[in-house]
C-alpha cells in the first residue's frame, strides 16, 4: 500500500495509544486492507516509536491458542513488538494508562544467540535461549470494544501495551515447557489456567514460528531480545482494585495491582 497512507494510519493508532482513547477500527474506512498491509502499517508504527527514542525489547506473539486462531479464522499466529516503555516498573499499574486492558499469563524467552529462519525448529530455539521467565502481558486494543479483524490487530502492534516480568529466571533445559502449569488469579480467585502446550503446542514452537515469519521479511531474532511467546491462559479483563497473580510451575509467581 501507499507509504503515506500507511504512515498516516500508524500515526492515528499511536495517537489513540498516547491519548488512551479508543478509535474506530481502520478496516471500516479501509476495508481492502490485507494482512500484508497490516504489517506494513505496523512497521511504520514501529518506526515512529524508534524515532521517538524508544527501544525494542523484543517481538511478541499473539493469537497462539487454537481457540483464538479459530475465532479469527487464521492458521498462523501474529506478531508485534514490545518496547522498553511498556515494561512495568514496580508492582502497581494505573488504569489511567489504558483504554480497556486485559491480562494474560505467558512464558518469555531471553535469547542468548540470534535465530534466523526459515526452517527454525523448537529444538533450535531452546538451544539459542539463555533464560525463560514468567510474564504477565497486558494487552489493550486501541479499537472500540476490543473488536477487530486480522489486519486491524496487526496494524495495532498486536494490541501490545504493557508487560510485568517475573523475577525468577529459569534455564530452558530444566523444564518441560509445554507441561508448565499456570494459574491466573484475580483477588484470590482463579480466573483461568492452562499448560504451556496451549501456545501452539509448545512455547519454543511459538518462537520458531516467529523466526520463520520474520525470515519472510529478511529479519531475524537477535541475541538479547526478550520474546513473549503468547498467552497460556485466556485474556482476562482488568478493573481498578484488582490484585493479579499468576503462578507458574517451577518459575514462581508474577503479581501486580491495578490502581486508579
Amino acid at each position: 500500500m501507499d507509504r503515506t497512507v500507511a504512515k498516516q494510519i500508524a500515526r492515528y493508532l499511536v495517537s489513540a495509544e498516547e491519548d488512551r482513547q479508543e478509535v474506530s477500527r481502520i478496516t471500516l474506512e479501509h476495508p481492502e486492507l490485507s494482512v500484508e498491509d497490516g504489517y506494513q502499517i505496523q512497521e511504520e508504527l514501529v518506526l515512529i516509536k524508534l524515532e521517538a527514542g524508544y527501544e525494542i525489547v523484543g517481538p511478541k506473539m499473539g493469537l497462539t491458542s487454537q481457540a483464538k486462531m479459530k475465532q479469527m479464522n487464521v492458521n498462523e499466529p501474529i506478531y508485534g513488538y514490545v518496547f522498553n516503555y511498556m515494561v512495568a516498573t514496580g508492582q502497581e499499574i494505573s488504569m489511567r494508562d489504558f483504554i480497556h486492558p486485559k491480562v494474560e499469563a505467558e512464558i518469555a524467552f531471553v535469547l542468548g544467540k540470534d535465530i534466523e529462519g526459515p526452517g527454525v525448529t523448537g529444538a533450535q530455539v531452546l538451544a539459542a535461549t539463555e533464560y525463560v521467565l514468567p510474564a504477565l502481558e497486558i494487552i489493550d486494543s486501541r479499537y472500540e470494544n476490543f473488536q477487530f479483524t486480522l489486519p486491524d490487530v496487526i496494524a495495532d502492534n498486536a494490541s501490545s501495551s504493557k508487560v510485568v516480568f517475573g523475577t525468577k529466571l529459569g534455564r530452558p533445559n530444566d523444564f518441560e515447557l509445554d507441561l508448565v502449569g499456570v494459574t491466573l488469579s484475580i483477588n484470590g480467585k482463579i480466573k483461568d489456567l492452562g499448560a504451556g502446550a496451549a501456545v501452539v503446542g509448545h512455547p519454543a514452537h511459538s518462537v520458531a514460528m516467529l523466526a520463520n515469519m520474520l525470515a519472510r521479511k529478511g529479519l531475524k531474532l537477535k541475541a538479547g531480545q526478550t520474546i513473549l511467546t503468547g498467552g497460556i491462559t485466556g485474556a482476562v479483563m482488568l478493573h481498578v482494585g484488582d490484585a493479579v497473580s499468576a503462578k507458574f510451575d517451577g518459575l514462581g509467581t508474577v503479581d501486580f495491582r491495578v490502581t486508579e
Partner: protein
C-alpha cells in the same frame, strides 16, 4: 427405598446386558433425590462385591467449573473403582467393554493411611498420600447419549468406566499439584491441555472433599486405595482404533488404545 434402589440398579444393568444406553432415571422418576441416587450406586457396588469383585478406590467427578455449570450443581460427586475397571498402562480396550466412552486425564492419589472425615483438609490428604500417578479415566454412561442429570450420573457410579494408571510414582512433597501441567493427545494430536488447579483449585482439596462426603455414609478412604481426583480438562470421545496418551509434568505418561473387539 431399597425397592426403588433395586429397581433403578436393574434399570442401569439393562444397558450393559443389551449393549445400549437406557432412559435417564430422572425421566422415570423426576423426584429422585441425590441421596436416593447414591443408594442405587451403593447397591450396585454391593452386588458386585458380593459377586467377588473388590473395591480398589474411589473417583471424584464434576470437579470442573464447566461441568458443574453444565449439570447445575455446586459440588462434585463420587463413584467407586472396582478391580474389573483396571486397564494396564499401554493396554487395549475392546469396545465390547464400553458403551460410549470418553477419555480424561487426571492425577491419581494412592493412600498410605486411612482418611476419615468429617474434617479432613487438603494438607491431611497430602500427609496421608503415599504417591501420586498420572491416570487416564475412561468415563462411560449407561444412560443413552449421556443425557444425564446429577442423580443419573450419581446412580450410575458417577459415570465410571475404566481407568489406567501410568507414569511413575511421585511423592506428594516432590511436586506442587495445582501447578502440574497436562497435555492430552488422541492419535498423536493435542486434544486439550490442563493443569492440576482445574480440579476446584487443587486436586488434594478434591480428595479432602471426598473423605468428608464419605463420612456421612460411614465409608472410609483406606490405605492402599486409589483416588482419581478429577479431570484436568474436558473429556474426549473415543472410537475403536483411537490411541490416547497424556503427559503430565513430573509424573510421566499414561496411554491406552481402543480396539473394535
Amino acid at each position: 427405598m431399597t425397592d426403588k434402589a433395586n429397581k433403578y440398579a436393574l434399570h442401569l444393568k439393562q444397558a450393559l446386558e443389551n449393549r445400549r444406553g437406557v432412559e435417564p432415571i430422572t425421566k422415570l422418576d423426576p423426584a429422585i433425590t441425590i441421596a436416593e441416587a447414591y443408594q442405587v450406586q451403593l447397591l450396585t457396588v454391593d452386588k458386585k462385591v458380593k459377586a467377588g469383585h473388590r473395591i480398589v478406590g474411589k473417583k471424584i467427578g464434576l470437579t470442573s467449573e464447566a461441568m458443574q455449570q453444565l449439570l447445575k450443581v455446586d459440588q462434585p460427586d463420587y463413584g467407586h473403582l472396582l478391580d474389573d475397571m483396571i486397564v494396564e498402562n499401554g493396554g487395549s480396550i475392546p469396545f465390547s467393554r464400553v458403551l460410549q466412552p470418553r477419555v480424561e486425564a487426571e492425577i491419581a492419589f494412592v493412600l498410605k493411611r486411612d482418611l476419615i472425615g468429617p474434617r479432613v483438609t487438603a494438607l491431611d490428604v497430602l500427609l496421608a498420600t503415599d504417591y501420586v500417578l498420572p491416570a487416564l479415566e475412561i468415563v462411560d454412561s449407561r444412560i443413552a447419549d449421556w443425557k444425564i442429570k446429577l442423580q443419573d450420573t450419581v446412580a450410575d457410579n458417577a459415570s465410571s468406566g475404566l481407568f489406567v494408571l501410568g507414569g511413575k510414582p511421585v511423592k506428594p512433597d516432590a511436586i506442587d499439584l495445582p501447578q502440574v501441567g497436562m497435555v492430552l493427545y488422541k492419535n498423536g494430536e493435542i486434544m486439550n491441555t490442563g493443569v492440576g488447579a482445574a480440579t476446584l483449585g487443587d486436586p488434594a482439596a478434591c480428595v479432602a472433599w471426598l473423605a468428608n462426603q464419605l463420612f456421612e455414609f460411614g465409608i472410609p478412604l483406606k490405605a492402599g486405595e486409589v483416588i482419581l481426583s478429577g479431570a484436568l480438562s474436558a473429556a474426549v470421545n473415543a472410537q475403536p482404533g483411537d490411541h490416547f496418551h497424556a503427559r503430565l509434568a513430573h509424573l510421566g505418561e499414561v496411554q491406552v488404545h481402543f480396539v473394535a473387539e
